[in-house]
Amino acid sequence: MKAKGAFSPDIIAFCCAQSAYQAADTAGSMRIPYPENIRVIRVPCAGRVDVLHILRAFEKGADGVLVLGCHEEACRHLSGNVRAKNRVQKLNTLLQEVGIDGERVEMFTLAPNQGFRFARIANEINERIKELGPSPVK
Amino acid sequence: MATAFKETLNSGKFVVTGEIGPPKGTNLEKTVHHIDLLKDKVDALNVTDNQSSVMRFPSLGTALLIKERGGEPILQMTCRDRNRMALEADLLFAYTRGIGNVLCLTGDSITVGDHKEAKAVFDLDSAQLLHMVRILESGKDLGENELDGAVKFCAGAIVTPEANPIEPQLIKFEKKVQAGAEFFQTQAIYDLDNFKKFMGYVRGLDKNIKILAGIVLLASARMAKYMNESVPGVFVPQALIDEMATAEKGKGVQKGIEIASRLIKQLKEEAICDGVHIMAIGREEVVPDILAAAGL
């Protein structure tokens, strides 16, 4: 139950359909709790996520962004997860230029059956963003 | 009329040249002292030109000073700081003041020096500078204009016998010979077996080219290692590095003098080349000791 006036971060989680989205599903069906303010967006591959998607998420008021894809070597599209990792790195620079803390965005890898891992990541990011406070460009 | 240095080169004597590094400023006290110390002990004295791209009192001015004190200067000219017009003009002036020996160099890059944002000129390279000297001697300048008043120089260049790879260096060497270089001073030499091979090639090319082997005084084993590892075209055999290491603390320079004089003696006794060029780099005071130890 939310305390009155407490900050509830708006977090977008881009989830790869081959891994993270299924893990989120698993977490759900196993009733593993994760924050309800995390909005899951399914993408065919983490590599589909563009820096522009993330920048526009911040323009629209997001406080944090997660990019979740397959483990190294496991990408069905060969190197989509690697591209995603590089893009998030590049994004760090772009965000810092605008005065947004790079800690607000992170990429993680996981397997489709890792419901617990999904929940853990979601909780970790939620706590981190609560600590950082609302996005400075909200 | 040939310069005193030119005559010495042609005399068959074992030639010895030294070097004066001008001061960074207008205090010429030490410079005058070094000139007086060395002028009668060597056949000629090089004057460096903003060596290592460090701005200093000009080589032309120091060459004049040597002349005034009764010495024989070799004017070093690099292409780094002056375009062809400035180089031509300086040579005209040098000639009128009796400075008739010139060493033609490309010059170190700006970035190794102390004016790192300066514009590097490099209008010419060393081979083109040598050609330019001969063109001036023919009574014309590089713009193909007639000169009113001739010049004559004894012109030389440098060569790096231990360059690796050696082939491109030799191609450049041959260009300098064709451009009219009369003498060469080499980069520091420490391995005489290698040097003999190089001299074999030179004698095969042209018996009249005069080669003065570069002698740089080692002051410590650390310096010997540094020169071997970091200075382009310098090879110091492990045996010499080890020998330097045997020196007692504080006696490094002594050991260096021993080694230098030994090299010079061998070069002379075996007539390996035509002479030596001693570069003391800040230790001009001990050059007389090196010469004495070598029996010169």
Binding site: L55, V98 | L124, D125, Q128, Q169, I171
Partner: protein, 218 residues
């Protein structure tokens, strides 16, 4: 191709400070290839500037567009309607592009979002290197296709110099000695005689700047 790099965001923000409606214009040719000023980079810069404005509480409306080539008068003229709606054009083209726009629309300030660096080519993914200095007196037939003006720190025509160090340049141990590369290339082609030739001083006025070329198409 021309290689450029976007200016730091702080510099760009300073340029457009105080303006409320701008056009960010990309170029579809060289700067698209080197990831500096194409359609994508226009979108990213717009997003960043909107975020920055929000953060500072400023008003900023951004129009975005990308044309095939900014250095072509006709293509730039076609932007008339858009340019009339804004106070400033922020060009993501090279210096030639910026100046073409400025020439066609002299009443509107045109600012450069990029620093134009050199003429070069891609060496690897995301890495572009300078290969041509546009000296106007191409020497490449004599050096096996390796340019000493660009790649030799001293721009020598009769190399190498005494600072060459095991195939590397004395200026930077990571940098190859151009003349050692040239030697190896010509040796490979059996053309060392070309390197043995003496090359007289360069004509530094081969292109009187600003350069101009006039021709008739065949």
């Amino acid at each position: 191709m021309i290689v450029a790099e976007r200016k730091p965001l702080e510099d760009i923000k300073e340029m457009i400070a105080g303006y409320k409606k701008i056009l960010i214009l990309g170029c579809g040719t060289c700067v698209t290839i080197c990831w500096a000023g194409g359609e994508k980079e226009v979108a990213v810069l717009s997003s960043q500037l909107r975020l920055a404005s929000k953060k500072n509480g400023n008003e900023l409306e951004i129009l975005e567009d990308t044309i095939e080539r900014q250095c072509e008068k006709e293509l730039v003229e076609a932007l008339k309607d858009k340019v009339q709606q804004v106070e400033v054009v922020l060009s993501m083209g090279c210096g030639a592009g910026v100046q073409t726009i400025a020439e066609i629309f002299p009443d509107t300030p045109v600012y450069p979002a990029l620093n134009t660096k050199f003429v070069g080519m891609p060496e690897g993914e995301g890495i572009w290197v300078e290969t041509c200095r546009t000296c106007g007196d191409c020497f490449l037939d004599k050096t096996g296709g390796i340019c000493p003006i660009v790649r030799c720190a001293k721009g020598l025509l009769n190399g190498p110099c005494g600072g060459t160090n095991s195939g590397k340049c004395e200026v930077d141990p990571e940098k190859d000695c151009a003349w050692t590369l040239i030697y190896r290339r010509l040796e490979q082609q059996g053309r060392l005689d070309t390197m043995r030739k003496y090359y007289p001083p360069r004509n530094f006025q081969a292109v009187i700047r600003p350069g101009k070329v006039e021709t008739l198409q065949a």
